[in-house]
Amino acid sequence: MRRFLTLFCLFVFLLPCAAERRVSGFVKDAQSREVLIGANVWCASGRTGVATDNRGYFQLQSGPDTLVVSYVGYATRKFPLPAGRDTLLQVLLSSATELQELEVTASRPPRADVVRLTADQMAFLPALGGKPDVVKALQLMAGIQGATEGSSLMMVRGGDPGQNQYLLDNVPLVYVNHLGGFMSVFNPEIINSIDVYKGNFPARFGGKLSGIVDLTQREGDVSGHKGSFSIGLTDASLTFEGPLSENRKWSYLVTARKTFTEALMAAASGLLMAENKSVMAYGFHDVNAKITYRPDERNSLSLNLYQGDDYLGTWLKKMEQQPDVSGSTGSVWGNFMVSGRWNHVFSSRLFAENILSYTRYRFRESERYSDGAGGAQSDSENIWRSSVQDLSWRSAWKFSAARWWRMEVGSQLSWLSYEPNYVYASLAPSQQARQIYRSAEMAVYWENRIELGRHFLLQPSVRLSGYETEDAFFWQPEPRLSLQYSPWNGHTFTLAAMTVSQNAHLLFADGFILKNEVWFPALKNVPPQRSGQLSGGWTGYFHDRMFSVQLEGYYKKMENLVALKDGYHELADLADMEQKLETDGVGEAYGVELTLKKEKGVWTGFLTYAWSESWRTFQNINGGKPYDFEYNRPHSFAVSINRKLGEHWNLNVLWVCASGLPYTPAVGRVLVPSGTFDANGLPVMEEQLVYGDKYSARLPLYHRLDVGAVYDYRTRRGNRAQWSFSVYNLYNRMNAYDCAYLSRNPDKDDFPQEDTTLKLYQISYYPIIPTFSWKMYFDYSAARQKHEPKRRQPSEKPARKHGWLYLE
């Protein structure tokens, strides 16, 4: 048996290698050295081709051949590979404006269950705050829906908002909303590329059931010190980047955002609401920093930092009759994340990435009161807090076993600490014991990419997940299988199946104003969520990849979903949370998604349509009958058209149309005792509504038209600048946000008072909203660069450096 295995390994690993050599490396921007994610790299013979991953890295094997590399917006280049052995490559591409663009002719199209969005594609979409927003842009994609209007909560293929994993450079971020969901925490200034996996997750991803949002941050531009400043209606942001050393081995990128609404809001609440006894202010900030060190071509180290918080506070006004009294309330919530990453190219067949990270999410509310004249007993402080901490190590190894077989193996180990509900009351006779749940998550995975001839690609993978908490251990094998068939160049059919588990449950607790995210770990009696998904689709390119079509259908089943029992709403209610959960939830979702894109030419744009159904069943909710998922919209449609006008203007029109959200309808009225009595001692009876099945009715169709224009120009000092104008909801459609049964319209005074019949009114919040923002780029090393020798023209002749071949 051992001899057989040895022979098998020799056959598999060595035999193919004897005939062909391995080619691997990075594709980067020739000037900034920023990695290009999703660049197509293939052999001109058409035998093999790959796309770069989110490190800009690729691996392939070929015989003597010509390498072709393409990337949207960059000139497609062909590089004859010199004869020789295994080759490590640094491919440097220049933007298409500098060199004549070549036509792209080959490589396998991306899968239909992956959405890729670049910072450039996002930049021109009209946005509510005047500045692009990552999650709002993703909500336009087929299969991804938002919650209520304006919210950054994201639902992928009928899943819950807590079933999405947001990875910032492969490190999970727990909380992704600013301003209660009006904006996401991802500063568009630092985004290189966004991949969203709606299903068929690669085995390296796990821990969330429905969606993986993989955001790759840019690295600092090593060509010079640069930056940008932008200001919109809600916030301003500042970005700096550049090399940290003369040899360009070190680079930095720092960006920060801050609202300027605090003072305005405090003034408004103090002046406009003079009768109010307190002043209120809200704001947020976030900071991203990244330092990258590349000691040589084989190694890359980076240190990432993210910190962002929202804060809402009220302060008691001074009272004449009680000058010694002071009081305040405060809420603060947000993430802190720090991570270190080391990438190493061992050889042309082996690449490794190791990440050590720490992430913390916490939400904290507090109340303070002091009466200087009342003594110590008159001072009080109450605190409510919920937090999650995650210390993780991830290791991934990419290995090219043969021309037709590449694999990735890896592992993950996480130590998590959940404190879903901490309460402190300074004047309480005794403090509540802290409930901290500590757990460990571990996973090993094995991804395979096996090319079966020229037309088939098989990707069998497995992820083995383990989860240990204080009272239980769960393990779950998660097999995943994908088969792609490419009968013609530019067309791929995919069939996929996957299972995945999730060890943390997201619940929403009422706060001062917004609903707060509370994470609760799986326990013996609250088992991990599980999901299985089947999907199949077709991706096709037409007219030299000018047009693309993605069509996909899916079926997903989710188990062990949780919901808060009736009567538990606030953080203070959630002690002993395990007792307050419905834990037997089952979810079912299915649908069809269509995406049409035009990515070249002066007219570009996309059209997306999704039909989806999503149901939930809990034994103690809705009488045990299945009900529509709270945020499901069976039909959603979006069309975006972008037109470049000359050198300066870029126009965009976006029309969104979707089914209304479901609501629970009232079906009748009854008399019930009010709890009070009249003068004759008889109970006072009052009318109340009787409701029908949960979420069995639907609000009217939602639609709106947004238009945007970006004016790109040079300032008198030569800096590039942009004005962005956008109008949200151009035709002032009053879309239903919610509804209420009322006997008269609260907006109208002339309604007959005696009419007591009930009518259903929709409540709308978002009228036409014009916004604008201004952004200026600056290059504070430009003056110095004027004296530097002119950059040499790209050469067809490859240069060798430290054993690496530079193709430029």
Binding site: M273, M280, E367, S378, D379, F512, Y568, P673, T676
Partner: protein, 280 residues
């Protein structure tokens, strides 16, 4: 956490300036709802035995109509109609008794409900605590302790009610004239009794009470002057501790979430009140 509700109101008021809300008529024709018989009763010791019968209405109807031609029996006693949907007998409700009520009306299936009338709880003391707390809208809360006797031998349900305006008070049955009722603010972490109790916390059971005497800590905004000043000062307000039947307990919990039984509520309770600083 009532402070937070006040905060929400203030912030929503501010947001309404920025995003002006708009109401628009959506629906006036609703599908017909099959009407059902609705039986309501609030049985209190000392009160006359009486129930109210009505029929449920469609959303578009102008009013919910009482039913005056039903046959109502309680424990084999037929209650005659007294008008406007009320049926009453001269018998008084007695604490500790179980009442089974059956209602028959033409065109509807008969409905039967039962309730056992609890005994009134005994209030031991009421005291005010010196400290104040502040809410998000700047209102201050005054804290109180209410101590009452608890029967640990059986499952009991309580409802704590604040009434800040009472025109008439009857010692036998509690507040009897028009009044407005408020929920007391109870911190769920103040006692293990409330830690697993769904909202509203003013309705609670004695499942986790292990003592014959229980002290309920609650607070009320000082802006509610009539109560805050009146627990010990001569003013027209009172607090009421009710011992309620199991069905009434469930009804109060569901009603707080806006859900009501389509067949009404057959409730029983007995209460003890504090008015003007003295126990009644």
């Amino acid at each position: 956490m009532d402070n937070k509700r006040a905060g929400k109101l203030a912030v929503f008021a501010l947001l309404s300036v920025v995003f002006t809300s708009c109401y628009k008529l959506l629906e006036t024709d609703f599908p017909d709802y099959e009407p059902s018989l609705v039986l309501n009763a609030m049985l209190r010791p000392g009160d006359a035995l009486r129930v109210h019968v009505s029929r449920s209405a469609n959303l578009g109807d102008s009013a919910v109509l009482p039913v005056n031609d039903a046959v109502v029996r309680i424990n084999d006693t037929v209650l005659p109609p007294v008008g406007d949907g009320w049926y009453a007998s001269s018998d008084s409700v007695r604490a500790g008794s179980t009442y089974v009520c059956t209602v028959e009306a033409s065109g509807f299936p008969a409905i039967t409900r039962s309730a056992t009338v609890p005994y009134a709880p005994e209030i031991v003391s009421l005291s005010v605590l010196p400290e104040l707390s502040v809410s998000a809208s700047g209102e201050m809360n005054r804290r109180y302790n209410l101590t009452f006797r608890n029967d640990t031998s059986r499952l009991c349900y309580y409802h704590f009610v604040l009434a800040d305006y009472v025109e008439d008070y009857r010692p036998a049955t509690g507040p009897a004239s028009s009044m407005s009722v408020s929920e007391a603010v109870i911190d769920p972490n103040s006692n293990v009794v409330f830690r697993n109790e769904p909202e509203p916390l003013s309705v609670f059971s004695n499942v986790n009470m292990d003592s014959d005497v229980f002290t309920l800590q609650w607070s009320v905004p000082t802006q509610m002057r009539s109560l805050a000043d009146t627990v010990f000062v001569n003013c027209s307000a009172c607090l009421e501790l009710q011992s309620v039947s199991a069905e009434y307990y469930r009804h109060l919990k569901r009603a707080a979430a806006g859900y009501y039984d389509k067949n009404g509520i057959f409730a029983a309770y007995a209460s003890t009140c504090y008015v003007l600083g003295e126990q009644k």
